[in-house]
C-alpha cells in the first residue's frame, strides 16, 4: 500500500510515521491517554502550547455555546444541500463555507481589533481612546462595526454577554476584553446620541474577543468558530436526510415544502418571445442600444 504523502511540504504542525502521529511535538495518543481535553488539543494545534486550566475552560465555553444556532445561514445551507441527497460531508462543507464576511466573521473582527491596537501603539493612545476612534471611524463611514448586532437576537445575542461574564469570572481579562468593552460603550453611546435604537454585542464580538484573549489568531479563531458550527449543521442535514422529504418540493406533504413552486416570487423581466436565429442579430443590437437590460445585470 502506497503510504507516501499526497503533498510534500515542510510543516511545523505534525508528522505521522508508522509508529505514531505527532502534533507540535506531542504524540496524540499520549495526549489522549494523559487525559488532556479536546480543547487543550486546540491550543496545541494552533498555538503549540498547553493552555492554563482557565484558558481551557474559556475555550470549552466558547465552542460549546457557538456550536448550535438552529436556523442560521450555515444550517440552512446544510439543509438545502441535503435536499439532493449527496454524501453527508458535502452538506457540512457547504455549511462551514457559509461563514464569510457577514455570517460569523470571526477573522474580520479579530483583524479589526488588532489593527486599532497596533495603531494605538503607534499614535501613543490608550485602548479606550482607540476604541472610540474605531467606533467613530466605522460609524462616520457608515460601515457596520464588527461584532455588534444580530438580525434574529434583536435585544442582543443571548450568548454574547454571558461569554464576557465567563471571561471575567475566569479572570482572563486582557487587552482584548478591555478594547471590546470600551468599543461597546462608545458604540452604544454614539447610537444613543444619534437617536438610533439599541444594538447589542453579538457572539462574534464577545466570543472572538475571548478567543483572541486566550491567544488565538483571527484566522484560528475563525476556524474554531466556523468548524464547530459544522457539528450542529451536520445534525440538521442528517435529520432532514433521515426524516425529511428529498428535494423539498413534494406536494404530498401536508406542509408546503422549502422549494415548492408556490414559494417562488419572480420580479424579473416579463415573459417574452424568443427571437429566431434569423432575427437574432438585429434583435440583439436593438436590445443593446435600448439598454433596458442593464437594470437586470447582476
Amino acid at each position: 500500500m502506497d503510504r507516501d504523502p499526497t503533498l510534500r511540504r515542510k510543516t511545523a504542525l505534525s508528522y505521522k510515521t508508522e509508529e505514531k502521529t505527532v502534533m507540535r511535538g506531542y504524540s496524540l495518543s499520549d495526549m489522549a491517554e494523559e487525559g488532556y481535553s479536546f480543547y487543550d488539543a486546540m491550543f496545541v494545534l494552533f498555538q503549540s502550547r498547553i493552555p492554563t486550566e482557565k484558558e481551557e475552560k474559556m475555550l470549552k465555553y466558547e465552542m460549546g455555546v457557538f456550536l448550535e444556532h438552529s436556523m442560521s445561514p450555515s444550517a440552512v445551507g446544510a439543509i438545502g444541500v441535503s435536499a439532493g441527497r449527496p454524501n453527508l460531508p458535502v452538506c457540512v462543507a457547504a455549511a462551514v463555507s457559509t461563514f464569510g464576511g457577514v455570517h460569523g466573521p470571526g477573522a474580520a473582527h479579530g483583524y479589526m481589533l488588532n489593527k486599532y491596537l497596533e495603531r494605538g501603539l503607534k499614535e501613543g493612545k490608550t485602548v479606550d481612546e482607540m476604541a472610540k476612534t474605531l467606533v467613530d471611524d466605522y460609524m462616520d463611514n457608515g460601515t457596520p462595526v464588527m461584532g455588534m448586532g444580530q438580525p434574529q437576537h434583536i435585544d442582543s445575542d443571548p450568548r454574547a454577554e454571558p461569554i464576557h461574564l465567563k471571561q471575567e469570572e475566569l479572570e482572563l481579562e486582557g487587552v482584548y476584553l478591555e478594547f471590546q468593552r470600551a468599543l461597546e460603550k462608545y458604540f452604544h453611546a454614539r447610537r444613543k446620541a444619534d437617536g438610533r435604537s439599541y444594538v447589542g454585542v453579538n457572539v462574534v464580538g464577545s466570543g472572538n474577543t475571548a478567543l483572541m484573549e486566550i491567544g488565538f489568531s483571527p484566522n484560528a479563531g475563525w476556524c474554531i468558530g466556523s468548524v464547530v458550527r459544522g457539528f450542529s449543521c451536520a445534525a440538521h442535514a442528517l435529520y432532514n436526510m433521515k426524516k425529511g422529504r428529498a428535494w423539498g418540493a413534494s406536494r404530498n406533504e401536508p406542509m408546503v415544502q422549502m422549494i415548492d413552486l408556490s414559494m417562488i416570487k419572480y420580479v424579473g423581466p416579463e415573459d417574452r418571445i424568443v427571437p429566431k436565429q434569423e432575427e437574432r442579430q438585429e434583435y440583439a443590437k436593438k436590445q443593446k442600444e435600448e439598454g433596458e437590460y442593464k437594470q437586470w445585470v447582476i
Partner: protein, 359 residues
C-alpha cells in the same frame, strides 16, 4: 406575481404558435406547449405554509435551545462541545465516561499529517480563499474509503443485526462479513496500524471506561476473522477503532462520519494557515504537468475543420452488441469514466414528515 391573466396568456401563446418554436408543436410532447400558463404559482392556501422543521433545535430572540436544553444554560452549568454533540445527535446528556471517551476520540482525529483533508485544504489555500472554504473542502475529503465511517458503520450494524436475526454468534457473523466483503477499505482492519499502538490503546481505553459494547466486541471478532484469511499481517486500524467506539457511544454511522470529518477540519484549518504563512499563492496556468507522467495518446495534429467528417468517430451504437463493444473499448480510455461502476444511492432511511404541518 402569480399567473398572467388569461387574455394575455392566450395572446402570447397564439403568437408563439403562429411563429412556431422548434419541435414544441410535436404531438409527442406530453401536453400542449402552446397552452402553457405564464408566471409563478400562487401561494398554496390549502396546505400549511412552509416552516423550517427541526427536531434538533430552535431559537427565538432571547434563547437558543437544542433538544430542549438552552445552550447558554448548558455552558453555564459546565458542559461543552463534547456534551452538546450527544445532545444534538442523541438528545441526551452523556455520562462522564462517555464524555471522556469522545474527548479521547476527537483528540486522536484532530490531526493526521499531510493526508487528504490537509492536502486539499492547502491546495485550496494556495488559490487565496477564505479559510472557511478550505475547511469545507477538507470535510469533503471524507468519503467511502478515507474516513469511511458510513460504509464501515452501516455494514457493522447490518451484520450485528443479521447475527441477532439468524441466531449467529458475533464470531460467525464476523467470518461471514470478511468472507463476503473481503479485507477492503471499509473493514476497519488493515496493515496500517501494525507499528502504531494508537488504535488498540483506544479500544483498551473504551474497555477501561466501561463504554465498550457490541460494536467493539464485534470488531474484535472481525479482526480475528481477517487475520485468519489474510496472507499479510493485519490488525484493527483507526477506522475500525474510532468507528466501533463511536457506535458504542451511541452515534449512528452517519453522525460518526460527520463528527469525525469536522473534527479533522480544525486540523485542516491549521494547515490552511500554515500554507498561507509559508507558501506562495498559486496562479492559474502556473503549475506544469511533466510529460513523463503522461501516458495518453501520442501528440497528433489537429485535423482541419473541413476534414472533420473524415476523422470523426461517432459514438452511436445501433445494437446492444455494438454498445457493449464500445463500452469495453472505452474502459481503456482512462478518465472517461467507463471503468467506474457505482451506485449513487439515496441515503434517506425514511422520507417525509407527514405528521408536521397539517392545517
Amino acid at each position: 406575481m402569480g399567473y398572467l391573466d388569461q387574455e394575455k396568456t392566450d395572446a402570447l401563446n397564439k403568437l408563439k404558435k403562429e411563429r412556431g418554436v422548434g419541435n414544441l408543436a410535436s404531438e409527442k410532447n406530453p401536453f400542449d406547449y402552446h397552452a402553457r400558463e405564464y408566471g409563478t404559482m400562487p401561494p398554496d392556501t390549502k396546505r400549511a405554509p412552509f416552516q423550517w422543521v427541526s427536531e434538533v433545535s430552535y431559537k427565538n430572540v432571547h434563547r437558543i435551545v437544542a433538544r430542549g436544553y438552552d445552550t447558554t444554560e448548558l455552558m453555564e452549568e459546565g458542559y461543552g462541545v463534547i456534551e452538546v454533540l450527544f445532545v444534538d445527535y442523541q438528545a441526551r446528556i452523556p455520562t462522564i465516561e462517555e464524555e471522556k471517551m469522545l474527548n479521547y476520540v476527537m483528540i486522536m482525529m484532530m490531526e493526521d499529517g499531510l493526508s487528504g483533508p490537509a492536502a486539499i485544504s492547502r491546495i485550496v489555500a494556495k488559490s487565496k480563499t477564505f479559510l472557511t472554504q478550505a475547511c469545507g473542502a477538507s470535510i469533503m475529503a471524507f468519503g467511502h474509503a478515507y474516513g469511511a465511517y458510513s460504509s464501515f458503520g452501516n455494514r457493522v450494524e447490518n451484520y450485528i443485526k443479521h447475527a441477532e436475526l439468524e441466531n449467529l454468534t458475533l464470531g460467525e457473523a464476523a467470518k461471514l462479513l470478511v468472507q463476503k466483503e473481503g479485507i477492503d477499505e471499509a473493514l476497519g482492519v488493515s496493515g496500517l496500524m501494525l507499528k502504531d499502538p494508537a488504535a488498540k490503546r483506544m479500544i483498551a481505553r473504551a474497555q477501561k471506561l466501561g463504554v465498550a459494547g457490541v460494536n467493539i466486541e464485534f470488531m474484535n471478532e472481525v479482526v480475528k476473522a481477517a487475520q485468519a484469511i489474510s496472507i499479510e499481517p493485519v490488525d484493527i486500524d483507526m477506522l475500525g477503532a474510532t468507528g466501533a467506539v463511536m457506535q458504542d457511544l451511541g452515534f449512528t454511522p452517519e453522525a460518526t462520519w460527520a463528527i469525525l470529518a469536522i473534527t479533522r477540519s480544525f486540523g485542516a484549518g491549521a494547515h490552511y494557515i500554515e500554507e498561507v504563512e509559508r507558501g506562495e499563492l498559486s496562479r492559474m496556468g502556473q503549475q506544469l504537468s511533466p510529460k513523463e507522467d503522461y501516458d495518453g495518446p501520442k501528440d497528433r495534429p489537429v485535423p482541419p475543420l473541413k476534414d472533420r467528417e473524415k476523422y470523426a468517430q461517432s459514438a452511436i451504437c445501433k445494437t446492444p452488441e455494438e454498445w457493449k463493444k464500445r463500452f469495453e473499448k472505452m474502459k481503456d480510455v482512462m478518465g472517461s469514466g467507463f471503468s467506474i461502476i457505482e451506485e449513487v444511492a439515496d441515503p434517506s432511511k425514511k422520507s417525509g414528515m407527514k405528521k408536521v404541518g397539517k392545517l
